[in-house]
């Protein structure tokens, strides 16, 4: 099936700084979200919302 899309006439190649900043943001977001999940879990266990079976 043929797709209809606008041709990217105003495309600008990202600079090294932009790509570097994006990579760092992605890494920070991944670490942040992982830590947040661990943080939520431990807090829920500590608050008794998730029973501590150990």
């Amino acid at each position: 099936m043929r797709e209809y899309r606008d041709k990217p006439t105003k495309f600008h190649k990202p600079s090294k700084d932009e790509l570097d900043a994006r990579r760092k943001r992605n890494v920070a977001m991944a670490i942040g979200l992982s830590l947040f999940m661990v943080f939520v879990f431990i807090t829920m266990v500590s608050s008794g919302i998730i029973p501590n079976v150990s």
Binding site: P14, R25, A28, S47
Partner: protein
């Protein structure tokens, strides 16, 4: 007054800083951290911790740690939301022009999204870690700082920081509520300590940054009522702070250690405020008179000293209160 910065074209310059043409943001994780006003956050963390330590009762260590982290994140989120709304004036002021949005590293809407997300996460997490009262207080603090202070009062009245100061005064109350689940007389005293401390702290800064605030049309007290009225009010609030700071000695919140330490701390505060009151701080020097120029410069120095000391004062007062609660 507010420019339409949210609909800015990527190729249009924002105060001489061009946005990158590829559309990928240059913002690094450190820029998002800067959005959270880390220096303000440190004061929030410290006072919230003090409130938590001073509150009667106890809570699991992890929950206490999590609560402080949530209060800090909530404070940081309000900082980000403040930078989103104030992006236009931040670009014009020497004190704020190096913030990530005026520098063109990120769009205001990125700060808005970040602020909203962190606000929701921090309030929800505080509810899980402590209780509904603490979470509701944190939500109200974020609302107060963004809507009441930043959007409503800041650009409209010279009483902006007097009323808006309440937002900065809530953290010890939230810390207290995280432990007890209520608001009591002593937690209100902790609130009042910061609430009354805020006007002399910010007006001292405004006295020697008068031009900066005038440039962007923020009605700070020295710009609207003049330096004399501001200096008078600094003196009145400093004396009121002295009175408020003595209440913990009689309300059962503090004991001898606090009494010994707080009196000299308060005397020093009043002395520095008195120096500002007597000075020409914030005045306009007479260009033909060298004496007048030196008088204003010396007055500005006195205001600078009061501003710097006020930060030390708040850390010291809450530090002594917390130390006594931990030691005794």
């Amino acid at each position: 007054m507010r420019s339409n910065i949210n609909n800015i074209d990527p190729k249009v310059t924002f105060n001489d800083v061009a946005f990158n043409t590829s559309g990928i943001s240059l913002a690094r994780p450190s820029d998002f951290f800067a959005l959270m006003k880390p220096r303000v956050m440190s004061l929030v963390v410290f006072t919230a911790w003090a409130g938590l330590v001073l509150a009667p009762g106890s809570m699991p260590l992890w929950n206490a740690f999590a609560s402080i982290l949530c209060i800090a994140a909530g404070a940081g989120a309000s900082g980000a939301l403040n930078m989103w709304y104030d992006a236009d004036i931040d670009a014009e002021m020497s004190r704020t022009k190096k913030r990530p949005i005026p520098q063109g590293k990120m769009r205001p809407r990125a700060a808005l999204g970040f602020g909203v997300l962190v606000s929701l996460a921090s309030v929800w997490m505080l509810y899980i870690a402590s209780n509904l009262v603490a979470a509701a207080l944190l939500a109200f603090t974020i609302f107060f700082y963004l809507v009441i202070y930043t959007i409503w009062l800041k650009r409209r009245t010279p009483q902006n920081i007097v009323i808006g100061g309440a937002a900065g005064a809530f953290p010890p109350m939230i810390g207290w509520a995280a432990v007890t689940g209520d608001i009591s007389f002593n937690s209100v005293i902790l609130f009042l300590l910061i609430f009354i401390w805020t006007p002399p702290h910010f007006w001292a800064l405004a006295l020697y940054k008068t031009i900066d605030y005038a440039k962007v049309g923020i009605p700070m007290m020295p710009n609207v009522k003049g330096p004399v009225s501001t200096r008078n009010q600094i003196m009145i609030y400093s004396l009121a702070l002295f009175v408020i700071a003595t209440i913990p000695m009689f309300s059962g919140l503090a004991g001898d250690l606090y009494a010994i330490c707080s009196i000299p701390l308060n005397l020093a505060f009043v002395t520095l405020a008195f120096k500002v009151w007597r000075s020409q701080a914030g005045g306009i020097p007479n260009k033909n008179s060298e004496t007048s120029l030196y008088a204003v410069k010396s007055g500005d120095r006195a205001a600078r000293n009061l501003f710097a000391y006020s930060i030390v004062y708040l850390f010291a007062i809450f530090g002594v209160l917390a130390a006594e609660a931990l030691l005794v």
